[in-house]
Each structure stands twice: as C-alpha cells, then as structure tokens.
Symmetry: C2
Subunit: 397 residues, 2 copies
Amino acid sequence: MDLPVVNGSISGLPVYFGRKGWPVDQEIPLSWDNDCPRGKGAYAPTGSGGPDEGSLETVAEVTLKDVALASGCSIATVSRVLTGTRPVGAETARTVRAAAERLGYRPNEVARALRSRTTGTVGLVLPQITNPFFPSLVRELEHALHAEGRAVLLADCDDDPAIEAARIATFLGRRVDALLLIPVDERRSREAVAAAAARVPLVLLDRGCGTGVADSVAVDNAAGMALVLEHLAATGRRRPCFVGAAGTASAAVERRAAYEAGAAALDPAAPGRVALGDFSVAWGRAAADRVWPSRPDALICANDLIAAGALQRLRQLGADVPGEIAVTGFDDIPLAGLADPALTTVRQPVGELAAEAARLLSRRPSDGEPGPRHTVRLAPQLVVRGSSVPDDVVAGV
Amino acid sequence: MDLPVVNGSISGLPVYFGRKGWPVDQEIPLSWDNDCPRGKGAYAPTGSGGPDEGSLETVAEVTLKDVALASGCSIATVSRVLTGTRPVGAETARTVRAAAERLGYRPNEVARALRSRTTGTVGLVLPQITNPFFPSLVRELEHALHAEGRAVLLADCDDDPAIEAARIATFLGRRVDALLLIPVDERRSREAVAAAAARVPLVLLDRGCGTGVADSVAVDNAAGMALVLEHLAATGRRRPCFVGAAGTASAAVERRAAYEAGAAALDPAAPGRVALGDFSVAWGRAAADRVWPSRPDALICANDLIAAGALQRLRQLGADVPGEIAVTGFDDIPLAGLADPALTTVRQPVGELAAEAARLLSRRPSDGEPGPRHTVRLAPQLVVRGSSVPDDVVAGV
DNA sequence: GCAGCATGGGAAAACGTTCTCCGGAAACTT
DNA sequence: AAGTTTCCGGAGAACGTTTTCCCATGCTGC
C-alpha cells in the first residue's frame, strides 16, 4: 500500500471539510484505489518541484487541484462535494471524500475569502482588555462568534481614540465581515465609528457613541440603578451619596442620571450628593475620604472598581460596613465577590449581551447603512452581598 | 473640479499605502489632471454596473485596477508605487499616489494574503481569558504584534483541550502566520500543539507542553519561588506551608518543586507541608481551613487567586496577617494590590514575556520544524506588600 | 557605430477558491 | 417518438493582489 508522497491527515487535528460539514454517512471507503490514477508515485502535489522533492517533512499545502487529480475528477466537482453547494453523484462524492481525507486536504480560507468576498472574521475592538469587566464579555463574545464559525480579531486600544481609529482601519483593510466595538469615548470615537459603520455591520457594545451611529446593545443602566436604590430604601437607608465618573461616557452619564432621578425618594436632598471622578479604584479611595465626614448611610458607586476602593478606605477610616454605611457597585466583576465585605452590586447579563450582539451582527445585511439603528437594552440583576446587608441576613435569605 | 463617481477617502480613517509606507516626501501634487485620462466621468470603478450605478452611498471597493485606470498606467506600476517593491519614475509615482488618495484606495489584505502566502495574522490561543493573569498578557501581546503590523486572532478554550485543538485547527485553516499558545494542559494539549508546531512557527507562553515540542517563553518559576522563600526567611518565618495546585501544568509543578527545594532552609520539616488543590479562590479558602489549625507562620500560595482566598478565610478565622502568619501569592494580578492586607507576591515580567514571544515568532523561519527549540526563562520580581510584613515597615522602606 | 546595461513600464501568470455557463445523458412528459 | 426537464460533471472566468517575464528607451564604453 504505497501512498503517494503527500502528508497524511495531521494527527490530532480534525480535518475540516466544507463549511457545513457532511451529514454523517462517512462509511469508510474500502476501495480507495479504484479511481486513483496510476498507482505508484505518478502523482505529486502541485507546489513541489523544488530541490527537496521527496522530503517527507516539508510538504506543500494540499489544494483542491491535488484532490481533483487524485480522485480523477474536476476541481469544480471536488469543491461541490466538499462544500455541498450542489448535489453530486454518490459514487463520485465518495471517491472525492476519500481522496480529500487521504491527502489531508484543508481548505484555504484565504482563497475562499477572496472569492466569496466574506472572510468569516469579526473585529473586536475594545478600550482596555485589562479593565476587569471586559474579559468575561470577550469570552462570551468569542464563544458566540466561534459557534457560528466566525473568528475574532482582537484589538486593544489602550484607551486612546487615535489607536482605536487605526485599529478599525486595519480591520477594515483585512476585510472583517463586521465590527464589534466598545468605544473608548462617546465623543472622540464617533467619527471613526460612523465611518466604519457605513462600510460593515457594526455593533456598539456596553457604551454608546452618539445617537443613530450604529446598532448598540448595553445593559439598562437606569434599571440597574433603580434596583440599587430600591434595595437601599427597603433596607432603611435614607442618606445616600453617589460616587460616579465625570465625562460623557454613556455608562457614566446614565448611571448618574438614574441616581439623581431615583434618589429623591429616599431623601429630597440626596440627588445633590454626588461626587465625580473616574472609574478607578484610586478615585474610590479618594471619594471615601471626601465623603465620609458627612456621614452618608449609603455609598452608591458607579462601578465595582470605585466601590472596591471606597470599601477599602472606609475600613481604614474605621467605618462599619454595612452597619453604618452600605456600599454598592455596578457590573459584578470577579473582584466584587472577593472584597471584604463582599460587594452588593448590579450584575450585567454578559452572556445575553454577547448573544444579542452576535444576533444584531448577523441580522444587518453586510453592506453598511441601510435600515434604522437598533438599540437593545438588557435587564440587569441585583446581587445582594455583605456590603449592604449584614452577612447573617444575606445567608438567612 | 468634477471628480469621477467614486468614494473619497473615508473621513477619520487614515489611508494605508503599502506595507512599508513611503519615505515621507508626500509633496502635495498640484497637477492632478495632467495624466488623468479624459476628465469627465469616463472612468467608473470596476464593480459598478448594477442598477444603482450612480449611488453615492453604496460604492464598490476601490481596487488597484481602478487606481491604474484613473492614473493612466498599469496595475503593475500602481502596485509597485504603493508597495515600494521596485523603483518607479518620480512623475508616475506622484500621479499614482494622487489617484490612490483621491479614490480612497485601501489594499485588499485578503488578496494580498492569497498572493503572497502570508496573512500577517497571528493566532492567540489561551485557556480562559477570564483568568485574571491573562488580560495583561494579552494586552502586551496585542501591542507587540500590532506594532509589527500583525493582527491577532483570539481564541478562548474554556479550559478544554478539545476546544483548544479545534481552535488551533481553525486558525491553521485561516492560514495564520504563527501561533501563540498558552496550553490548557501539559499532557492533553501536547498532540495538537506538536502537530501545529510542525506547520507554523509556534511559541508556547507561560506554560510548557512537554519538552522539545515548540519554542517557549515563561517566567522562571523557580527563581520566583526562591525570592519568596528568601524574603520569608529574612523576615524570620520558620514554619512555612505551601498551598499549590495538583496536576501536571508546568507552573504548578515548577512552583511546587521550587518550594520543596528551598523550604528546607527554613525548617527541615517544611518541604513536606504541602496542600494541593487547583488555582482557584475557592481552593484558597478551603486550604486555609485545612492548614490553619497547625499554625504555620507563612502560607506560600502558588498563585494570587489561591492567596486571595486564603487571606479572606484566614481573616474570618481570626488569624492576624501578617502578625501571626504571612501570606504570599504569585503573578501579581490586579487583585493582589487590592486585597486586605495587600498581597506580597511575585510579579511576572509581562511586557518582556510578550516582547520575547514576538521576537521568537519572527525569528523562526515560517515553515515548521527546522532548528532546535528555544526555551526562554525570564526573571520575576518580588513585590513586598502588607500580607507578609506590617504596613508601616512596607511604607518605611 | 554597436554591444552592454541600467531604467521604467506593461502583459500576464500565478495564488486557491467559488460559481456561472455549457453540454451530454438520462428521465420524464405529451 | 419527439420534446422537455432534471441530473451530473467539466471548462474557465472571476476575486485583487504580487511578481515574473519581457520590451522599450537612453546611456555608457569601446
């Protein structure tokens, strides 16, 4: 059984046939040689011809042409068999599949992309992968996209709109089918985002970027903040104070606005008690210093990082959390459960966020523009932990 | 000045010319029209011809052919001008560049990849992006690779070797130029990794995967553990205990071995005091419960997650950290600085890790196999914080 | 005056697919 | 039995680059 000089299927790596795979009728072909032209070595893969012709190690890629030659039919037929684009005679199909498997054929996605004008890749552009809220989002997105056969090109912008624009441009040059984007800045990202949205389907994630620029999916920040306020009211807090982030980022604005809208129910003076910095642990610490002297009984932080910083400093200041003061966060990053006391926070529905983004992507018809923009808001969930309620109560419920 | 019906340069997106860019002699061409064939609308981009011919919104991609037509020279010449592969007359070059810019030409990277047999992409495959050590590594890798003009395809394996193999296969199908891989498992990842390494340059990161399989770069775990033990010895600890991870992952094995090798210097019985679970916070908590009754004076954890869990539980058990017992971690994830007390740990040189990986990738000559495998070990750094030494001492130094 | 040689430019062949024609044969209609 | 449809398969044109030839031209050195 002398096989021609080509590489067999790579061990451990499942061979990929066509984009839809076959119905699993496999049936191992017992009669390989019936159609194989001239048994011994008359066939060699295309690319060869260099000096090290017979080398078993370094072997040119197996192409459709090779499979066609080996199975004695045309390139077109092989393509049809493997992609299932058109019905092919049962006998021929078997021969072709056998040849493909024997040679270890793996389609060249680049050629496929060029011809079919779709690369099967999605660009994922985000401000800072080190922001602890993003990894879980990236994970869900990656899974959702790979599940539909698309690959993810990743870009980290280092929180710089200029880098962001450059990465977007790079991805467009690479002909991504779509872009998933968490904009760095509501305002300064806008131009690049709008330009990109005109060329490929683009979904904004987590943060907005002006209105009408692109589809977007995010958590309902107002609803989340309302959950927090409701919880604090129910547990008897009456002097809340908001520690948020300045700037125009949509999360910052929406959460602040929702606080101001809802806090009056606890205390008419509450909406005015607001301290603004950025979304960082350091600001959380600083805010605690600034705010603690006025003895609020609840610190509503715009995200978990701020809350973690505040929590840390409050403890150092000798405050009793949650006895004297409750602290709440937003996002439910992994850190939240580890803080001491564990942080009451608003959990973003990360999985649904990702699923919805993927759904929006595939709905939009590949060329830019047409159709109105969709904005999806997903309901968050309140996670009550020890920072707002004594531990025994948490456990008791 | 009636321009032909094509899209101008996309606002906000810098136009990309050739892979090396030009020497910046730019000099804005004042005489555009001198070579442009027949001024008014005689020219239209290739793809058009459909019903909505004159639509300004939806426009076919501008190709080399379009630029060639517009600038009155051949495709070959345009290509040469824009990529700089061969010298071209100054006059012609100017005309071509002007036309390219005017039409908003952007090279099709897919076609380029097909022809030149190199995609400029690198696959990054990792076990779990949600592992808090990885985001900063991913960030550095992304920056290092984008800096040399390569794009990053990301895959998250959900800690499953089967998914890992599938992702690797997908990436190979997409013809990545190279693979960067943090293997899920020392043993079960091996087959797929070895097969992939035979086809493209592959660098193992952070964790090993059997010997001689591929290039690899990681922190020097032994050196890191030695730093910790040295520090603990210097601060008078004499009854250390190691909380590590079972299994064959190289980080787990190496750190454990290093502890066992070095702990005897503190206490002849120390090397035996070892508790093994996994790399999780939950295990850290459980380990604290199990180990505290025997009153060690130092808990050396195999990573920061374990340490964070142990720290939390020790505090709940009423232990005085660092008074009665010191706790140390490994990796210096962001969480480490936020724990209370802040965690003494070993910082991995993430930036250098990434740089070294990128360097190894570009050194290996693109086809698999040849040349011996390189293994790079980078020196870690001890970060002393409050969990091993009283805060005033830390601040004092 | 002519071989030799840079120099600048074009035609056309790849790269590996997909997909549109087209033709022949077999299977149905009337 | 002739027309019509269906089925199967092949040739070959794209897709948008890069690159290899090849041909002009003008210049140098003899």
